[in-house]
Symmetry: C2
Subunit: 340 residues, 2 copies
């Protein structure tokens, strides 16, 4: 899912988002509740009408933003109080309120409110946040009133595999229509993340979508798919695109590099995105001249790259050759794009 | 012509530029010569390949940027020396060099180098700049080597109608394939500009395109068309779009205004642009949240608005009802969009 934090995938019109191959987009409860406010979005016809996106939308609950963005967050059993990162006003987010906001937004998938911790954390703190996440999930479920909105639960548990498994089993018993693995990709080593997926994926329901939140690099996606993950969101393709980094099968290209100045090649042969109808030399010029079109084109390219990568992964799975697909991609990325 | 100063219409992919209805785009000799350098553009396959635009391109000669942007510009008969606005390096632009750069860029229409003055100016200074502009036009003509590139001459003359007519006649006798009126829209009152067009247009060849440089507001365009102008360029639709101002038949809308917060209407009924598939409330949100998509969508809308306006003007001329079309538009704009 491309990330449309504030009801827009940064830099792209909604038609351009669709053209990347995206089938579903993510938006953020925390951001939209602060600005413009979920009631404004509802009165403008819900988040689909607001963004002009007729496909499925998943909204994050705000749990991660309370951890990463809000100021002076204080968590109690009732919920979290925090200060807005926009104007410093004091606000409260409870499980019930997180669901009410997402129902007003009208997303297709709402995430339960979870308690996210910085890693590493003490076992007692991990257990406490994990238990609270489970109790909050039950409250979210009870608070839901829209039959046209699915709630996904979020498995926490830090870097403790037993806690992860326990959390997955507890939430699994509550029969949510989908499950997410949260609280990863917060600074831990990739191998720690893969180790957690090794532990938790076998404990997740086999017949429900599995969503790894906030991940990640192309290699992280394929590593996670290998372990049974179905769904992802990440700002990496968009944020890195705005910062002149393009993903390719030969590894990342940094477009400000002088070596691209006279390069007539596209970023990636055969890529159908609008960036790849230009030369690398032109894309470099756009970044050197601080032109908006540089970030726009690299955002379109990177989202297209991610969508094509996962489309290829689905195809490889369907043809029972995922392992060889995976290894081939890994070799390509390790060549390093700067050598291309 | 949408303005693509640095080889990109700010904020739009080239497909989006095409979708506004634009048939021809402008780019700038001064900017491209400084960055990335015309030789880089040429090696990447010329300006058409660089931008991905297969329609006609007009390049401005740099005369206006020497006046508006360069630092410490000093004009002699040979040419102009100036300091780059990017890095302060000392550079020279002569008529011959202006043509050589434009030939390297490979534009379809090259502008001669002219001597632009700030207004108001003394009669002697106006006459001096005007005579120099004529001599430089002759040097540009002599310097041209590409049979696939048309040179347009630029009529100067400040706010002196006799000087304008004299300049038009002198340049007219030199048989350029097109003529521009330059040195206007530099801060003078609109009526002064219309007065100059009243004087100069009848002195311009009837069988050559007439181009009013750097103009302007929608009402300026229709006033100029009334006086016989065919071609325009202006940053107003793009720059104002980036600053949250949308042009409509009911006058400009300022999208940051609170009144748009819950407005479900598009900017303009029947407008085919991507902005008009969203509500005014959504567009306001994008600007309030500092999202790139706000400037992008309003740029697309404003360029579409300008293209539709001039398409309607052409149709009205063809049907011999331009005067009533003109008056109807003027009445609409004077209603002021903020009342809409």
């Amino acid at each position: 899912m491309p990330v449309g934090t504030q009801g827009t995938v940064k830099g792209l019109t909604i038609d351009q988002v669709r053209a990347t191959g995206a089938q579903m987009v993510l938006s953020n409860t925390y951001h939209l509740a602060l600005r413009p406010g979920e009631e404004i979005v509802r009165q403008l016809g819900d988040l689909h009408a607001f963004m002009g996106w007729d496909g499925p939308i998943l909204t994050d609950s705000g749990g991660f933003q309370l951890f990463s963005l809000a100021q002076m967050t204080r968590v109690t059993e009732k919920g979290a109080t925090f200060r807005s990162h926009i104007d410093g006003s004091l606000l409260e987010l409870t499980p019930e309120r997180a669901i009410a906001i997402q129902e007003a937004l009208g997303s297709d998938v709402a995430m339960v409110l979870d308690h996210v911790l910085a890693l590493p954390a003490e076992p007692a703190a991990i257990r406490d946040a994990c238990e609270r996440t489970i109790r909050w999930a039950a409250r979210c479920k009870a608070a839901g009133t829209r039959s046209d909105q699915a709630q996904f639960a979020i498995i926490q548990g830090g870097l403790d595999p037993e806690m992860r498994v326990w959390c997955a089993e507890e939430l699994g018993a509550m029969d949510f229509p989908g499950y997410a693995v949260g609280g990863l990709s917060v600074g831990e080593a990739p191998d720690d993340m893969y180790r957690m997926l090794d532990a938790v994926c076998p404990a997740m329901p086999v017949d429900k979508p599995r969503y790894l939140m906030g991940v990640g690099r192309p290699e992280d996606l394929l590593q996670a798919v290998l372990r049974g993950i179905d769904l992802f969101d990440c700002v990496l393709p968009t944020r890195n695109g705005r910062n002149a980094l393009a993903f390719t099968d030969a590894g990342p290209l940094r477009l400000r590099n002088l070596k691209h100045q006279l390069d007539r090649r596209p970023l990636e042969d055969g890529c159908p995105c609008p960036a790849c109808r230009h030369s690398r030399g032109y894309l470099r010029h756009l970044f050197m001249a601080d032109e908006m079109l540089g970030p726009i084109l690299l955002t379109a390219h990177n989202l297209t790259y991610y969508q094509r990568l996962l489309a290829e992964a689905r195809q490889a799975i369907a043809e029972d050759r995922y392992r060889s697909f995976f290894e081939q991609k890994m070799v390509g990325w390790q060549r390093s794009g700067e050598a291309a």
